[in-house]
């Protein structure tokens, strides 16, 4: 079992960096192998919305930059973790620049799944998904949006298990530890 952390922090967000360090430490303690990618340091151009990753070069984005590498790592891991500050209830632009480039992990073809339209899977297995979002203070509406967003993403990404946790910058160390543990509780070996 391994993991991939996509850290969508904006530059100088020392709190999210601290959360990243604690999560990596906890995963290390559990004997898991993996890596964190600090997305703001990577050149990942925005998705062009061209769908060529579905039809022209199936499974591979036509933009040749680090976005391809991230998509590859995303499907090859057992456990995918997103770290983001919560922006209006959603993800940061840094996290999203990578996620938008990952639709080639799905097939273009539609199907009815859970009585809704979704895409067909391209691969035999998809990773579990945990998303940690940070907020300066509680915000009931944005927290609700964020939680629903992760749930919808898990459905569209075929995550066998998923979780989301919201950490406030004012949380004490023990509270943060508890939230990290709960977030990581869904991790597992999707290769069986």
């Amino acid at each position: 079992m391994d993991y991939l952390i996509l850290n969508g922090m904006h530059e100088n967000d020392s709190f999210l960096q601290e959360i990243n360090n604690r999560i990596s430490e906890e995963l290390d303690n559990q004997g898991l192998k993996g890596e964190s990618i600090l997305l703001h340091e990577k050149t990942i151009k925005p998705c062009l919305g061209c769908f060529k990753c579905w039809v022209q070069t199936p499974g591979i984005c036509v933009i040749d930059d680090y976005g391809r590498e991230v998509a590859k790592k995303m499907i090859q891991t057992d456990n995918l973790l997103y770290l983001t500050s919560i922006q209006f209830g959603g993800y940061s632009s840094e996290l999203k620049k990578a996620l938008d480039r990952s639709i080639g992990l799905l097939m273009p073809f539609f199907r009815v799944f859970h009585e809704e339209i979704h895409h067909e899977t391209r691969y035999d297995k998809y990773p579990n998904m945990t998303v940690f979002g940070t907020l300066d203070q509680p915000n009931e509406q944005q927290e609700l949006i964020f939680t629903k967003l992760v749930q919808r993403n898990s459905l569209n990404n075929f995550a066998p298990k998923f979780a989301s946790q919201i950490i406030y910058t004012s949380d004490d160390a023990l509270t943060i530890k508890g939230k990290i543990e709960r977030g990581l509780s869904v991790l597992g070996d999707v290769n069986g």
Binding site: P46, C47, L48, G49, C50, W54, V55, Q56, P58, G59, I60, A71, K72, I75, Q76, Q87, F88, G89, G90, Y91, S92, S93, E94, K96, K97, L99, D100, S102, I103, L105, M107, P108, F109, F110, R111, V112, E115, E116, I117, H118, R122, Y123, D124, Q141, Q142, I145, K148, L149, R152, N153, N156
Partner: protein, 244 residues
């Protein structure tokens, strides 16, 4: 009464996008009401600091903001988030002053069901709230690709002769007429400085065809495109599969 509006066109597909087709329909109707429109294609705007500054000034001067964006992975595309962050910073730095501004959002989803847009429209509402803009409402568009290929006006013209018992009437004519009338109503409210009533927007909450029909039609489109460029055999490739 509103005098000026800014159109934030948030699709990378430019004028070929559904976001442009629907957003520009709204702004052209606002223009007919005597409202001045400033249009920004944010993928271009974001490449140029002078354009960004100009866009901020235009938000400052506007009474109405029309944000029209594709739906990417159940939420806003990276550049739509960036533009919201830039505007938020400009409000904090008082480059955008306090006054009544209405925000109307249009979200264009690929999937048939309108409700895939529900979360992102709530995100745009939070963006409005954070910045003291008045949330005028959101238009959740399902199967938005239809409007990337046709403007509402040209589509209705093309389909004008269809008899009501033609199956395409239910699937295309009826929904487009509803959308047309909701947009026209919305423009009426906005131009008077009012929010669009919820029950008006709720008229867009329909699923125009059986899910299976959409799946079948959509899948045919992918195959047709692949046939044209000779990639049908490769469509199910797994380039990143780990070889055991």
């Amino acid at each position: 009464m509103a005098d000026q509006a800014i159109f934030l066109m948030c699709s990378p597909r430019g004028e070929e996008s559904a976001s442009y087709s629907l957003g520009s329909y709204v702004t052209s109707l606002l223009e007919e009401k005597g409202i001045t429109i400033n249009e920004y294609h944010i993928y271009k705007t974001l490449r140029n600091q002078t354009k960004i500054d100009e866009m901020i000034k235009s938000v400052n001067d506007s009474d109405i903001i029309v944000l029209s964006s594709p739906l990417y992975i159940d939420s806003a595309p990276t550049n739509t988030i960036k533009i919201m962050n830039i505007i938020t910073r400009a409000v904090q730095e008082e480059k955008i002053g306090k006054k009544k501004r209405l925000l109307l959002a249009i979200s264009c989803a690929g999937y048939l069901e309108y409700y895939h847009n529900n979360i992102v429209l709530q995100i745009y509402e939070q963006f409005a709230k954070t910045n003291g803009f008045t949330w005028a409402g959101g238009l959740p568009i399902g199967a938005a690709g239809t409007y990337a290929m046709n403007t509402i006006t040209s589509f209705l013209e093309q389909l004008a002769q269809l008899p009501e018992d033609d199956p395409r009437y239910e699937i295309y004519v009826k929904p487009t007429r509803i959308l047309d009338s909701v947009i026209k109503g919305a423009v009426e409210y906005l131009s008077q400085g009012k929010v669009v009533p919820k029950d008006e927007l709720q008229k867009l909450e329909f699923v125009a065809m059986p899910l299976e029909s959409y799946v079948e039609g959509g899948n045919k489109n992918w195959i047709n495109w692949a046939e044209k460029i000779g990639t049908v055999e490769k469509l199910r490739d797994k380039p990143y599969e780990i070889k055991q």
